[in-house]
Each structure stands twice: as structure tokens, then as C-alpha cells.
């Protein structure tokens, strides 16, 4: 192919003359002595998730599946959301009456930017770090939906919450390795500490993140 490609590969191989010809990558031992899973109880993992998300100054509410629509309605009302952006495959039963839900049927950026907030589900929650993972799967939509609106309301089912980062990475294997989906890790609202190290919530992404943790009825 290109001359640059050949030359770089050539330089790299020359630089690696000390590596024995027969050595395979797996001959270089990688000890994975760290924890693969949390040994805490389910209750504790869920508690920890809630606590850690709250530490990022995000609001977290815990409700039963039955109470979800009312909770969504209350949250939207409290924020004064009139036009709520939703992915096309949002579960119908999540949506309360009386709110104008704008489904993402190939909306333009301007239309998305004009919404007061966005409601999505998620792929996973990570307790150790208070992280929400989006993988473009069910009830999540494309990446831009959770980016332009200033308010993100995110529904997390308790069975989606894992303990440690390695558990989350393992669960995402099919989405990444088979379906090549884009993944976004969200830990609190966007933030900067660039001005005299004062943390300011919200620079470009949603300045308010609200999480509803749903327990089975």
C-alpha cells in the first residue's frame, strides 16, 4: 500500500529486533489479578449506584415500575418541560398523558436542539463509578438525542445495574464486538474545572441529569 505504511512498519520491526521471532503476543504474560466482579450483595450494589450518581450532583429517584409514568410526569413538570424528545422505540407505557412527546423520526439537529429535554432508557449502570452506559439499544436512540437537550431524564432498571467496571465491559461485548454499536459512558452531567479548578456543571452536554431507578413491582 502506501510508502508511509511500509516505512512505519519497517521502522517498528527494526525497533523490535530484540523480541524473539517466535514470541507470540500471548507469551507476554498479563496478570489480571484485579477484581472481576463485586462481591457485595445486590441491595448494596444498587444502593451504591444511587449514592455514586448523586455524588455527581445528579438527581436520583427510586420507584416501582408501576409508578414510573407518574414519576416521569412529575419530573417533567418540575423542570417545566413542554416538548420532550424520545427515541422511536420508547416503551409506550412510560409516557404520561399531557406531555408532548417528540419521537425521533429522523428529526433535524435544529428540532432536537429545540426540545426542552430528552427521556431515554440505558444499557447499564455501574455502581462502582455511578456511570450510565448507553449503547444505542432499546429505548436509547442515536447519540445526538442525549447530547443537545439541556435536560436528560434517564430510566435505569435495577437489573441493569452491575457492580464493577469489568462487569460492564463484559456485558458490552456483544454490542461492541458483534454489532459494532457506539457506546457512551455518562458519569454525571458534563463538567469542567478549567477555570481556577472550580467545578462547573454543564458545559456542552445536558446541564441537568436526572436518573430514575426502577425496581420490579
Amino acid at each position: 500500500m502506501s510508502a508511509a505504511r511500509d516505512e512505519i512498519l519497517q521502522r517498528v520491526r527494526l525497533a523490535l529486533r530484540d523480541v524473539p521471532q517466535r514470541e507470540q503476543p500471548t507469551d507476554v504474560a498479563v496478570e489480571r489479578g484485579y477484581r472481576p466482579t463485586a462481591d457485595a450483595s445486590r441491595e448494596h450494589v444498587i444502593e451504591l449506584f444511587v449514592e455514586r450518581v448523586r455524588e455527581y450532583k445528579a438527581t436520583v429517584r427510586i420507584v416501582t415500575a408501576h409508578a414510573l409514568p407518574t414519576t416521569i410526569a412529575e419530573s417533567c413538570a418540575a423542570r417545566g418541560v413542554r416538548r420532550l424528545l424520545v427515541p422511536v422505540d420508547i416503551p409506550r407505557e412510560w409516557l404520561p398523558a399531557g406531555i408532548e412527546a417528540l419521537r425521533d423520526t429522523e428529526l433535524t439537529y435544529a428540532q432536537i436542539d429545540g426540545c426542552d429535554g430528552v427521556l431515554t432508557g440505558c444499557a447499564l449502570g455501574i455502581a462502582q463509578t455511578g456511570t450510565i452506559v448507553l449503547d444505542g439499544g432499546q429505548a436509547q436512540g442515536r447519540r445526538v438525542l442525549t447530547l443537545l437537550p439541556d435536560y436528560h431524564l434517564c430510566v435505569v432498571r435495577t437489573e441493569q445495574i452491575v457492580g464493577l467496571v469489568p462487569e460492564a465491559v463484559a456485558r458490552l461485548v456483544p454490542a461492541v464486538c458483534e454489532q459494532q454499536r457506539a457506546i457512551t459512558f455518562i458519569s454525571g452531567p458534563s463538567a469542567t474545572s478549567d477555570i481556577e479548578l472550580n467545578r462547573v456543571e454543564g458545559v456542552h452536554g445536558p446541564r441537568t441529569l436526572e436518573v430514575i431507578v426502577v425496581t420490579p413491582d
Binding site: L9, T26, A29, Y34, R52, C177, I195, L197
Partner: protein, 509 residues
């Protein structure tokens, strides 16, 4: 000071630039606060993980595995990105990388690109190169925007505008963005940047970014950030160009279970940074529909060839080593005259450019080892520093020929070697030195020597030769057969207490 302050040539030595930085009290205050704050945060979130040392070891080992088989992994990465609908370009150096990027931008008829902060694009001076093609690169990271509007250079990998206070930022925004009323509240300043950049995000068709990690097996790229400007640039434009040093590749997706724990905690002292984006090639209906990955060498293969220096390429650019470095804390980033400041800069820059062009940097350290302790991928920075110092000396001796041999330090070292080889010469030299140092020694310390020896003392204090040496004391002791009281006291002299200190009555305190 007429020599230009370019990132490619390192015209000023570290010591020269550090002197200027040390006189800037604002910078020192901000830096002191910043490094202390981040240091404390890092320590507390690292302490939370009982398996931190196991994670560090895994991180180091994964990097070692990758680097020892870098050619294979690069080919795997190339194939995977192409499979997923992306295009891969190879660049031997900065000029080639910039030509590739400019070519893609112009092909799409763009006159502006939005840019995610990236050290690699700073290293190749991409903004300037694009400027020569009439293309403006707009920095979208808040600190980078501040730096760009002020026409300055970054002083910290992580908080590049650490040398600016809020009042200065307020004035800067008012002047450059044409705003008439603005307070100096950080939230309000950030909101100004949000409004200004939102229009750019929504209209500029091409974005450029760096790469934190690239997975060889899947072609998945990761960008780790805080503000959301990264997500904007990676999601909204039609075309995305990502530039990565060839050392940023990791073998598999699973390896993120290690690096996603190591990086945020080491970097900002958070359990997780606000946003991390992963993408694999092109996603129909979601994000840029054209993706270009530029693989940059620019000196990295040279670093790879050095057995001791190779570990430098483990670096995941977390900046933890900066925040613990006593030298960096006082001089700040500008003194390093490079995009890579602090301990990592002191070892990376001389290797990328060659010791002949950045030979002062390996001396920008006290070798205290704090950087090694915090490094999440276990780079033994002091080991590499010492190794590079030896190279600097060897380079002087060989390449500068007769001039190198006549270098005062080289002559001094050769003389010393002769002196140390013979006990007689050694004692004579001590006697001579004791006489010669009288005008210079104060309390057992020599702070300044006359030229040409002042080269040695500008950066160091010397211990004066003591009034009574160990040898003198030993000889006397043997004559009397026991240690006389006064002479036992005199042992203190062997520790460098001179007559003046004795007169000041310090000896018995």
C-alpha cells in the same frame, strides 16, 4: 531571547525557561493550588480500590504486550477499522500527518474544523498547518478555547489554562467574543463558551480529535473527556478525522476494564470522567458518515527501539506525574518548551526529538521517584531519566568532537577520574580545594563558583571540603590508639561543617 519558542526545536533550555516561570507568582500560586487539589482527590479515589496495584500491573503488562508486537497490532487495527467502514492513513511525521488531514478537510470543501483537545494534534502543530491551507481549527475544550483566544500555549496537560485566573478570562472573553457585560463567575464564563460553540458544533462539517485508546481486534476508538465538547465533535459533523500516535493501540475490548479504572482516577481524581465515547467505524444513521484514522509515528518508532526508553510509550497521558512533581509544581508547564510537560515530558520529548535537541530536559528532575509511584502504567521515569542523562553526556563527547572534549564539564570529569585513581593525588587535591574554596564557602556550602565552574553551581549547591577529612581523622585516631574526645567531635567536620559554622556556634546546638 530572540530565539523562537517553537514546539519542534527546543531552543531554550529547561533551566533558562524555568527561571522566567519561577518569577511569575500568579502561575506559581495557581499551580500550587491545582496540583495539591488534584493530588488529594487522586489519592482518595485510588485508596478506594483495594486492587489498585493489580490494576497498575495489568495496565503495564497490556502495554508491554502491545508494544512488543506493535506491528501486528497496527495491522489488526487497520483491518478492523476498514471492515467497519473507516479509512486508515499512515503518517511518518508531522508534515505528512498534516498533509493528510488538510487533504481530507479540503476535499470536503470545509474552511473550518471543530477540534477536540488533543496533545497529538498539538505535537504536530496541526492548527498552524491547517491555517496555511486557509482552514481554521476551532478549539472546543474550554481551556483550549481560552488559550486559543489569548494566543498562548498550554501549561498543564489536563488544565491547560491553569495559569489564568477568572478575571483574566472574563476580560479575554469580553474582548475577543464581543460581549459587553459579563461577571467573572466560572458558571457564567462557561455559559458564554457554551453559546459561542453551540453554533459551531451545529454548522461545521468536519471535526478532528485525538485518540485515547484504539482496539486492534475491533477497531473501536475511545475518547475520554469531561465537558461534552468531545461528544459534540464525535457525533455531529459529517466527517471525523482522528489522529493517534501508534502507541495508543490496545489489543482487545476487554482491556478497557483496566484502563477505564486507571485513567480517570489518575487523571482528574474522579471515579469516572463525565463522558467517554467509543465508536467503531461508521454507524449508519448515527454520527459522522465518514471516518478517517491517521496513524502517526513522528519519532515513536525511535522511542520503541530503546530497551529502557520503550516503556515511555506505555503512557496514557493521565498527568498524575505532573501533579506530584516538585519541579513541575514550581516551574509549570511552559518551562518544558514542549507540548509534553512535567516528568513525562522530561523523558518523552528528548526521545521523540533526540537528546541533541532537548538535552536539558532529562535534568528537569530531582529523581525523587514520586512520578514512578503514581504512574498508572508503572513507567519507571527516574530510570529513563538517568538513562537519558547518560545519552546526553555521550552525545556531547562523541558528536561535538574536539569541542565536546574541551567542554569544561568533560574536562572536569576526566581530571576527577585521574584524581580518584591515586590516593596521593586525591589528598593533594583535597588540600588544594580547602584553600581554593575559602572565598566561596559559606557554612559548609558553596553556592557559587567563578566561571567556568559556575555552570555546575547555577543549579546546585556544593558541599565544601571539610576542614578535617575522614582520612586526617583516621590517621590521628590510629596514632593515639583511641578516639580522643576533641577529635570525635571533629568527625562533624567530615560532614561538612566548616570553620565559619563552628564560629557561629552551630556545632553544639
Amino acid at each position: 531571547m530572540s530565539r523562537s519558542n517553537s514546539k519542534f526545536h527546543i531552543p531554550l533550555t529547561f533551566q533558562e525557561s524555568a527561571r522566567a516561570a519561577l518569577e511569575n507568582t500568579q502561575l506559581r500560586r495557581n499551580l500550587g493550588k491545582a496540583t495539591q487539589t488534584i493530588r488529594a482527590k487522586r489519592a482518595s479515589v485510588v485508596d478506594e480500590l483495594p486492587d489498585w496495584q493489580e490494576l497498575r500491573e495489568a495496565g503495564r503488562a497490556i502495554k508491554e504486550r502491545t508494544l512488543r508486537h506493535l506491528d501486528e497490532y497496527l495491522l489488526q487495527l487497520e483491518a478492523a477499522v476498514q471492515r467497519a467502514g473507516g479509512q486508515v492513513h499512515w503518517a511518518r511525521d508531522a508534515i505528512e500527518a498534516n498533509r493528510i488531514v488538510a487533504g481530507i478537510v479540503l476535499e470536503h470543501g470545509a474552511s473550518e474544523v471543530i477540534k477536540v483537545k488533543s496533545l497529538t494534534t498539538d505535537e504536530i502543530r496541526m492548527n498552524e498547518a491547517l491555517g496555511q491551507h486557509g482552514v481554521t481549527a476551532i478549539e472546543t475544550d474550554l481551556a483550549e478555547l481560552i488559550i486559543q483566544l489569548a494566543h498562548e500555549e498550554s501549561s498543564h496537560i489536563l488544565v491547560p489554562a491553569i495559569h489564568k485566573n477568572r478575571a483574566e478570562i472574563r476580560t479575554l472573553f469580553m474582548h475577543t467574543l464581543g460581549i459587553s457585560e459579563l461577571s467573572d463567575e466560572p458558571a457564567e464564563l462557561a455559559a458564554v463558551a457554551r453559546r459561542y460553540l453551540r453554533t459551531k458544533f451545529l454548522s461545521v462539517p468536519v471535526a478532528t480529535s485525538g485518540v485515547n485508546f484504539a482496539v486492534a481486534a475491533t477497531g473501536t476508538i475511545a475518547v475520554v473527556e469531561s465537558e461534552g465538547n468531545g461528544r459534540m465533535c464525535l457525533t455531529l459533523p459529517e466527517v471525523l478525522i482522528s489522529i493517534m500516535g501508534i502507541e495508543k493501540v490496545i489489543p482487545g475490548w476487554q482491556d478497557f476494564e483496566v484502563f477505564l479504572q486507571l485513567l480517570p482516577r489518575s487523571s482528574t481524581g474522579e471515579r469516572m470522567n463525565p463522558y467517554t465515547s467509543f465508536w467503531t467505524g461508521v454507524h449508519p444513521g448515527d454520527g459522522p458518515q465518514a471516518f478517517h484514522l491517521v496513524l502517526l509515528d513522528n519519532g515513536r518508532s525511535r522511542v520503541l527501539a530503546d530497551h529502557i526508553g520503550r516503556q515511555t510509550l506505555n503512557c496514557i497521558r493521565c498527568s498524575a506525574c505532573l501533579n506530584v512533581c516538585p519541579v513541575y509544581e514550581r516551574t509549570g508547564g511552559h518551562a518544558y518548551n514542549s507540548v509534553y510537560p512535567g516528568p513525562i515530558g522530561a523523558i518523552l520529548t528528548p526521545q521523540l526529538l533526540g537528546v541533541e535537541r532537548a538535552g536539558s530536559l532529562p535534568y528537569a528532575s530531582s529523581l525523587c521517584g514520586a512520578c514512578y509511584d503514581v504512574c498508572p502504567v508503572k513507567i519507571n521515569i527516574p530510570e529513563v531519566l538517568v538513562h537519558l542523562r547518560a545519552q546526553v553526556v555521550r552525545h556531547k563527547q562523541t558528536s561535538e568532537g574536539i569541542k565536546g572534549k574541551l567542554d569544561p564539564e568533560a574536562i572536569g570529569m576526566r581530571l576527577l577520574a585521574r584524581v580518584f585513581r591515586s590516593p596521593e593525588r586525591y589528598e593533594q587535591a583535597q588540600k588544594l580545594a580547602r584553600l581554593g574554596q575559602i572565598p566561596f564557602a559559606r557554612r559548609g556550602i558553596i553556592e557559587r563558583l567563578p566561571p567556568p565552574l559556575n555552570v555546575w553551581t547555577t543549579m546546585r549547591d556544593l558541599q565544601a571540603v571539610p576542614r578535617q577529612t575522614f582520612r586526617d581523622w583516621w590517621r590521628k585516631r590510629r596514632v593515639f590508639g583511641s578516639v580522643p574526645k576533641a577529635d570525635a567531635d571533629g568527625v562533624g567536620d567530615a560532614d561538612g561543617v566548616d570553620a565559619e559554622a563552628a564560629a557561629a556556634g552551630r556545632r553544639n546546638v
